[in-house]
Assembly symmetry: C2
Homo-oligomer: 669 residues x 2
């Protein structure tokens, strides 16, 4: 008998209830100190979380980036204090009691909702409901993909999610559970905080779903437990871990704000401090006689012991990893791109420069992928059921199925939102670079997840084709007009709209190289002319550049993106015939151009009158235009007709651009 | 025996199959003529649609706006030729064979996807998947609401939906079916085109859901039929009509592209013309020996007879309506606002002018609603589970429940997308004006439906509170920064950001008065100062106006919206102390300001240097700024901290604005 064991006998370990009460107390105290926050959920789910962390979760706070750790995703992100309390109690570096005291204060690690990157142990940013659950599908899928490549010996982790009623009411939850059920992601275990309370009151005000039946209909295993019965919770998690044939929903019946004598079970416990009186009463009810933020040694020690338990498992794993082959090691730790990216893009550009065929930029994108995918095994492609339109699948790519996770292409189904959120999860997993396609107009369907890619600084590549009225007959419901502007408004998102094959390859290179920024590739349905066949320099990297210099001094500058760069070049030729000297600027990325020195920007845009051309609304263009300049684009929604007719109707033609430019140039002279 | 009956005996009516084949032929011929479109769905669902129209649907093509007609919503909007064929065959005015020949051509009624307003009988714009199904929930809800007010004798219609696999895969479908199931909308009948094919191939590539179990889990009745067995289809619809206790899903097992020998049952039948050879073979297979677009008389007559059958039902109904009371008549035909709107707003403004309390604009909105809701019985409010935050419910409003449709407030649950789409349906129903709330940041969750409000020109009012970092501690996931710009990019959407109580009342007035434009009301969480107590004129109607004139000649113009107008006024006061004369412009609506004459715009904006202030990104502001002007706002995402700290951190303060303005004014002098 070791000394530690002797000690354990003489000083009995705290109960699950005691340990859970530490979470409850920290949650209510931190919310009270901040005078803002959500105590109800952490107090309600404290028992479940305690059982999960003490009995099931494989983790080592000393190595929070351990590739084979179990993931814990708090989809109900408003319950952030549950996570922060757990990270503090189990000993994650930096998650001090001071951080908890600074809950929701400027610069703290303990933001109102968990923010990825603020502290180790926060696996993803949550708060917008349903996102964490859908991220978790991508994380769980990554586990299967990585395990298929490096073996279960090295990668074999579970993904646990705590989701609330709100997560399950959001439509994204259906896309996520449907995809997870289809793919039989059996190591995904969702713990539903079934507390029957939402902000407006009882959930019965708005929802009557039988969630267990719903999940079962999507191929999930389900169980129901009393969320305050540790033995039942432990048994359910054990059963779920023991059967990985399908994902699991464990409905945990809980009382929101558990322990608060007057507010427990009520929506008033959800989103505001309990108040001094109620906190005092709660301390009594829970038999928790300690001061605010004071966790007694015996309980803290028990928690810290839980935290240190994973060290041995990690060490054993690290030993196994050291014996693995180089490719496995590289994949597990996140491959360095080295020269592979540059070589693949160089090869693509060389091939494209020799290819005079007019093609749509979506086709050039596919041709680029034919170079990229073989060179970068970490690429995982997909489409929301538009593979043949987005051209996201290369010849050699293999579809992932529940029976074969050795593939590298996901049929996401008609689930744009679920796809985007899953891609966030794949990116967060650390081993893969996800890209996925739909029509540009349907960025609206996945915008909340695109925003989170940007906020979390994740490298996710959105391949968004059919990027204007150039798609033609499908009409205004399918024609993006405001989307380029609306996407450019999102911080830390690179919106690329390449003009031809060379630019498409360049933009792909930039997207893959941007480790902390997601990218939109806006690609045409219709064929565009080749504009460049020049050398290896990535001209798109500066965001904008003169693609066709003026003959002599500039009379006018035409600025365009994507398929309208060809229109501008044609207009410049027409202007030349009339003695007007026009320079043409291609601007594949506003964001990268904005980041250039002012001197470069001025040299590109010039002093001459400017005409901007883009088959979208004007909004984002005013940044580059002076009041006397002009914009040629869409005045509003499009229409259903063949593309050429639409460009004609809306005046997005070389002739019209030339007319406007000529008038401007004349005025200026 | 009448003459007509005699004739029917001597010339037997065409079979369902014959009548359905007319749809099939028109669909494949129109797609072929357009060289673009989706023949597979209309051909697959032709039998189901024929049974629905011939046996169940209550409609009268001569009175397409009949308030008590059954609604037919083609949620799978890519199958638009199904709808156009039905409208042509049953004799809707204007839906001539020429229109069908002009399928997908510029200016035709027959756009690629059904566009509301293009032709009578198109109940809603569909194409973005799942939207029609979710609109239908709002339509079916409107039926219950209206019936509760005017009696089942006058309003008693069914809402039928044809939905495809894609509709059911979209997350919005879950929000819709969950809400419909909760509200027990038993007169909603969804016919699912269960053809097991999506664009990427077999649906089994991406989905394994048991849809019947899923709908049942949300409280729906379900049935399954062979979609090519008219008797079975008729029996299922009859059973569904006979039991209105819950909504119905009828899964119709069909063959996509039914009749096409080589393409039926394949994804190649989905979204491209069948081709001349295949069409020829299909004609043979279907025993349809007629020329393209040629519907033989006996079949056309049979269809026209179906179309004229509703005339008597309509006439009987019109007679009943003529005996109804004035209020019922007004509600049914869509109430005229008359003076009720103006009076309610005038009363609100008078009260607000006398009230010096600093309040959040969301509070002013609620106080405005206290005047509006009693005055406008057609208002139907709601929130996506944020009632107490959005302040969308007035004292006297009654929650709608499955047992009580006499209420006027919907607890939409945590279903922003479903709410927005349902509101579109409510607006389309013609009797009610819907408004609903969530946080401004979650406009992202319902953006596809907001876009459709705008495209369909529907008066839907989005009450979007917590409109900036002013919400404080919830942090960047909840702080809209790009949303004002992103919403302003959507055509035909009025984005209002009122600055105080008076402006809030004015913007509500403008939102309700805009019959063909949806509105966003962006409202603050935090209290703002009162800026105006002036007379009855709606100053917000011009989009922007000088809220505080300069003392003497303007040295600088400060332009702001919402909570930042107070900041600008404070800055102007500080500038005055330094001898700088600043005018302050409040710009509650860019859209309305843009619509003003240039002379007015110039007079408001002036020639002096401009500083724009808004706690969001700069993008949409460049329209009003010259290169030498300045913007004070958000450089990117926000942070979690108390609001005052955030405004300080990001420099959105009167002191910082004054500094910048002073420097600009000095430079100009």
């Amino acid at each position: 008998m070791t000394k530690a064991q002797t000690k354990a006998v003489t000083s009995p370990a705290p109960s699950v209830r005691d340990m859970a009460n530490a979470i409850r107390a920290l949650a209510m105290d931190a919310v009270q100190a901040a005078n803002s926050g959500h105590p109800g959920m952490p107090m309600g789910m404290a028992d479940v979380a305690t059982v999960l962390f003490t009995e099931a979760l494989k983790f080592d706070p000393a190595v929070p980036g351990w590739a084979n750790r179990d993931r814990f995703v708090l989809s109900a992100g408003h319950g952030s204090m549950l996570l922060y309390a757990l990270l503090h109690l189990t000993g994650y570096p930096g998650m001090t009691i001071e951080e908890l005291k600074n809950f929701r204060q400027f610069g703290s690690k303990t933001a109102g909702h968990p923010e990825y990157g603020h502290a180790p142990g926060i696996e993803t940013t949550t708060g917008p409901l349903g996102q964490g659950l859908a991220n978790a599908v991508g994380i769980a899928l990554s586990e299967r993909l990585l395990a298929a490549r490096v073996g279960n010996d090295l990668i074999d982790y579970h993904t646990y999610v705590i989701a609330g009623d709100g997560c399950l009411m959001e439509g994204i939850s259906q896309e996520a559970i449907s995809l997870a059920g289809h793919l039989k992601l059996g190591k995904l275990i969702v713990l539903w905080d079934d507390n029957s309370i939402s902000i407006d009151g009882a959930t019965s005000l708005a929802v009557s779903d039988n969630e267990l039946e719903r999940f079962a209909a999507s191929g999930w295993n389900t169980a129901r437990v009393d969320g305050h019965d540790p033995a039942a919770i432990a048994a359910a998690i054990k059963a779920a871990k023991g059967d990985s044939s399908r994902p699991w929903l464990i409905a945990c019946k809980t009382v929101i704000g558990y322990g608060a004598p007057n507010k427990a079970g009520k929506s008033s416990a959800h989103g505001e401090p309990l108040g001094g009186e109620e906190i005092k009463a709660t301390r009594e009810r829970l038999d928790w006689p300690y001061q605010p933020f004071d966790v007694p040694d015996h309980i803290l020690s028990a928690w810290r012991a839980v935290g240190s338990r994973g060290a041995k498992t990690y060490a054993d794993w690290a030993k196994r990893l050291s014996g693995a082959n180089a490719e496995a090691k590289a994949l597990i730790s996140g491959r360095k791109l080295d020269t592979a990216l540059a070589s693949a893009i160089a090869a693509a550009k060389t091939a494209f420069a020799a290819d005079a065929t007019k093609r749509a930029t979506r086709v050039w994108s596919q041709l680029t992928l034919e170079h990229l995918v073989p060179a970068l095994p970490e690429l995982v492609g997909g489409s929301a059921d538009l593979t043949g339109s987005n051209l996201t699948k290369t010849k050699a790519q293999v579809s992932i199925t529940p029976e074969n996770f050795a593939g590298n292409y996901v049929h996401y189904g008609v689930r744009e939102h679920g796809m985007a959120a899953a891609m966030n999860g794949i990116a967060l997993s650390g081993s893969f670079i996800p890209y996925g396609g739909t029509f540009l107009v349907f960025t609206d369907y996945c915008r909340p997840s695109i925003r989170l890619s940007a906020l979390m600084e994740q490298r996710v590549v959105y391949v968004m084709t059919h990027d204007s009225i150039g798609l033609g007959e499908d009409g205004p419901t399918h024609q993006p007009v405001e989307h380029l502007s609306a996407l450019r408004a999102i911080p830390n998102l690179n919106v690329f709209r390449p003009a031809d094959g060379i630019e498409t390859a360049e933009c792909w290179e930039l997207a893959i190289a941007a480790k902390k920024t997601p990218s939109i590739l806006a690609l045409s349905r219709q064929a565009v002319p080749n504009l460049r066949s020049d050398g290896p320099e990535n001209q798109s990297a500066k965001g904008a550049y003169v693609v066709k210099a003026s003959e002599g001094a500039r009379d006018v500058t035409l600025i365009a993106t994507g398929s309208e760069v060809g229109v501008a070049i044609e207009a410049a030729a027409a202007l030349a015939k009339n003695g007007v000297s026009a320079a043409v600027v291609s601007m594949p990325s506003f964001e990268l151009f904005r980041a250039q020195p002012e001197s470069y920007r001025n040299s590109v845009l010039g002093e001459a009158p400017r005409v901007a051309i883009e088959a979208g609304v004007a909004q984002s263009w005013y940044e580059w235009l002076r009041p006397s300049d002009k914009f040629v684009g869409m005045p509003g929604f499009g229409a259903s007709a063949p593309a050429a007719k639409l460009f004609q109707h809306f005046g997005i033609t070389a002739a019209h651009v030339a007319d406007i430019a000529q008038a401007l140039a004349k005025k200026a002279n």
